[in-house]
Amino acid sequence: MMPFSNLVSIDQVGVEERIARFNTRSIKKESKVQGLKLALSMIDLTTLEGKDTQGKVKQLCYKAQHVADHLVGLPSVAAVCVYPNHVKTAKKCLMSTSIKIASVATAFPSGNSSLKIKLADVKMAVDAGADEVDMVISRGQFLEGNYQFVSDEIASIKEACGKARLKVILETGELSTLDNIRKASEIAILAGADFIKTSTGKISPAATMPVTYVMLQTIKDYYDATGIMIGMKPAGGISTSKIALQYLVMLYETLGDAWMTNEWFRFGASSLANDIIMQLAKEEMGVYYSGDYISKD
């Protein structure tokens, strides 16, 4: 099936205008509370540092289950996202919960390695129990125009994932133009991505609304052509409730209600959860409380 017959061109100015329009939406009262809870349930709580240890991962996993026990009716986050060597630890901690374990793989974040090593990386994560694999595409190959290489690599890794869902990181900050982002999104989807994801979080700019919008439109076009849903994960740089709600407005008005669940949309973020809790607490109590009421793990 070839749903994309022509490369769709993207007008950056038009995209920015559309984003500005999303951002004029005023999300208040019950729709704000509902949106914030939804956003919280969509978070992939992330720690991707060289200094990660078992202890740090355990703390993160506990936080994932107990974001703020003093508030009633809060959902847990969607997943924790760690390096492959920490998947086993996370799995142990989250065994009896519905929280997923996502692992970055494929020589994250640069992706500059051989396919053999990337496949081994994926295998390590999956064998240890990762539910989701976040891979990076070979941006160098993409920018050289070797789209087939990029596509083949994704397809191979998809195969190695087995039952794990595959999120394909485009690292949009390195692709630079919206036309490139559209093209990379199409390649990733056609090669087998279950999710497409903006960024590693290691490059600036990470996720932006224009970039995410172009990716959402690609998902929409693919769905219209095939009836198959693809998930979306903006990652990096989404640190406040306000921004998260703007993303949800964009999601809602672009893809609609069916995507408004953590099965199809995720935020890759580490500090967003605490800001959401702060805002939800404010909605409940009418005032902001000290940040020290919220755990920092």
Partner: protein, 517 residues
């Protein structure tokens, strides 16, 4: 051609395919379990109404003549309603011939005795002051504009009012630089300008008219439209506050007869009119043989052209913005859509999807995209055209949004399978109604775009710069937007070809209409 095993590094130009993903995808979908929020119903935006506490609307407004609010000679007042609630907002004076005479004479007097004698840079100071006072009260202006006219607060707040202020700022800058704008031509003021403005952008149109008239040293008698007089009367308050010499700007509310009296008054030197083509024709007849200068900005039926190499999602946004901006009450609205036939199906599918996300309702709600139709008369006219369109055999699609039970609301509407011979294609509807045609070649679309008595504006969407320049030189329209639509700026001239009028407003060109050389 590709599967997970193939290792060919052959670069592919535009598309990359991978087989057998469909299967794996359905499997993964089944294995992942949903974490559902207990209360997860469909997400709806809660009402976010703009506050009206800071707004003061008097129960009754008089005529603003010679710097004061005065009772009308007619002794009559008429009501102005909110088209969204159908509630009366205020009543305003109805000017008759005598009132118009008084207003024109006070303008003439102010011109002779004070305004024409003032150094140009002093004029500029007054215009700046008006702009700043308007800016300070921008929120109040925006709310009243939305209450009286029905347009969504998002537009009055973000577009109408800021643009209106910017027009005053812009023309204030020109007041003492006319010699530089028209070198060696000795520009001189005309005298009294009679200005008649429509109901679709009440304050913005007032600004378009008053600012250049004052900058060029003329005095003004302005008649706002009868359905939307409130922001012009608020502007009168601002003008009073600014200390502008008495009589330099007079604002008289009333009906068509007041407009006619203004047009026919012998002391008026210039008529600036924005409105319908029939009235424009009447004005031209009325001033024939007199010395009165005129600029007319009349109706339109813009061609909005989408080529197959356009950025489609942004083009769809442009179509939406082109026809549904201000409920389609825009003379330059992109009301005739031409889509290249090979992408028509895709564009229309996307257009329908986008239409379904538009929120129609309370103009004061910050989330409203499309507000109320301006008047009962107008909504009836639009409904009549819907009937005509259906009778003509066009396929109608309306967005499936909720609309309030009270007030004048209409669903965003498109007509498919229309042709040049349909009335809904030929006539200006002035509502949220789009007639869609397909085209095959560039020559065909140019011919059809120009095949209309109007020529105010047009829009072109293509990724090819050369195509844009080819079209802009061949389309008979005063304003042509490329890869965008409905963009306005005080520095950019605006005006029509053919029956869309003559003369330009905005920019340096906008000064010329108020000057003799």
């Amino acid at each position: 051609m590709t599967n997970s095993k193939s290792k060919s590094a052959k670069p592919m130009a535009q598309t990359v395919s991978a087989k057998a993903n469909v299967k794996s995808k359905t499997v993964t979908t089944k294995t992942s379990s949903k974490i559902k929020l207990e209360s997860r119903a469909s997400w709806q935006y809660a009402a976010a109404p703009e506050s009206v506490d800071h707004v003061s609307i008097k129960p009754q407004y008089d005529l603003f003549i010679n710097g004061k609010f005065v009772k009308p000679n007619s002794k009559k007042y008429f009501d102005t309603y909110s088209p969204s609630s159908e509630k009366k907002l205020s009543e305003v004076a109805e000017a008759n011939d005598k009132d118009i005479d008084l207003a024109v004479k006070s303008a003439k007097n102010a011109y002779d005795k004070t305004w024409s004698k003032l150094p140009a840079k002093e004029r500029a100071k007054y215009i700046y002051r008006i702009a700043r006072l308007m800016q300070e009260r921008a929120r109040e202006f925006a709310v009243i504009e939305s209450m009286d006219g029905g347009k969504p607060i998002r537009e009055s707040r973000d577009i109408d009012i800021p643009l209106a202020c910017n027009h005053f700022f812009y023309y204030a800058g020109w007041a003492d630089k006319l010699e530089y704008a028209f070198p060696n031509k000795k520009p001189q003021a005309l005298g009294v300008a009679g200005q008649i403005i429509p109901w679709n952008f009440p304050l913005l149109m007032a600004a378009w008219k008053i600012a250049p008239a004052l900058a060029t040293g003329n005095t003004v008698v302005l008649k706002p439209a009868e359905t939307t007089p409130l922001t012009a009367l608020k502007l009168a308050e601002v003008i009073q506050e600014s200390g502008l010499p008495e009589g330099v700007v007079n604002i008289v509310t009333g009906f068509g007869n007041a407009g006619a009296a203004l047009v026919n008054h012998p002391l008026v030197n210039k008529i600036a009119f924005t409105g319908s083509t029939p009235v424009g024709k009447y004005i031209q007849k009325a001033i024939a043989g007199t010395n009165k200068k005129a600029t007319l900005e009349l109706g339109g039926k813009a061609a909005h052209i989408i080529f197959d190499d356009a950025p489609i999602d942004q083009a769809v946004e442009g179509i939406i913005n082109g026809i549904f901006f201000n409920q389609g009450h825009v003379c330059c609205a992109g009301s005739r859509l031409f889509v290249q036939e090979n992408i028509a199906e895709l564009v229309i599918k996307k257009l329908k999807h986008r239409m379904d996300t538009l929120i129609v309702g309370d103009p004061l709600d910050k989330n409203t995209d499309i507000g109320a139709i301006n008047s009962k008369e107008q909504i009836e006219k639009i409904k009549q055209y819907l009937t005509i369109g259906i009778k003509e055999g066009a396929e109608m699609y309306q967005s499936n949004c909720q609309i309030p039970s009270k007030g004048y609301f209409i669903r965003p509407t498109i007509f498919l399978h229309t042709s040049q011979s349909h009335r809904i294609v030929q006539e200006e509807i002035f509502g949220p109604v789009l007639a869609i045609q397909t085209f095959r070649t560039i020559e065909e679309v140019i011919e059809k775009a120009n095949n209309i008595p109007y020529g105010l504006s047009a829009g072109v969407w293509t990724d090819k710069g050369s195509k844009i320049f080819n079209l802009t030189s061949q389309l008979r329209a005063g304003v042509i937007w490329a890869n965008t639509y409905n963009k306005f700026d005080p520095a950019s001239p605006f005006g029509g070809f053919k029956e869309s009028g003559f003369g330009r407003e905005g920019g340096i060109h906008g000064l010329a209409g108020y000057l003799k050389f």
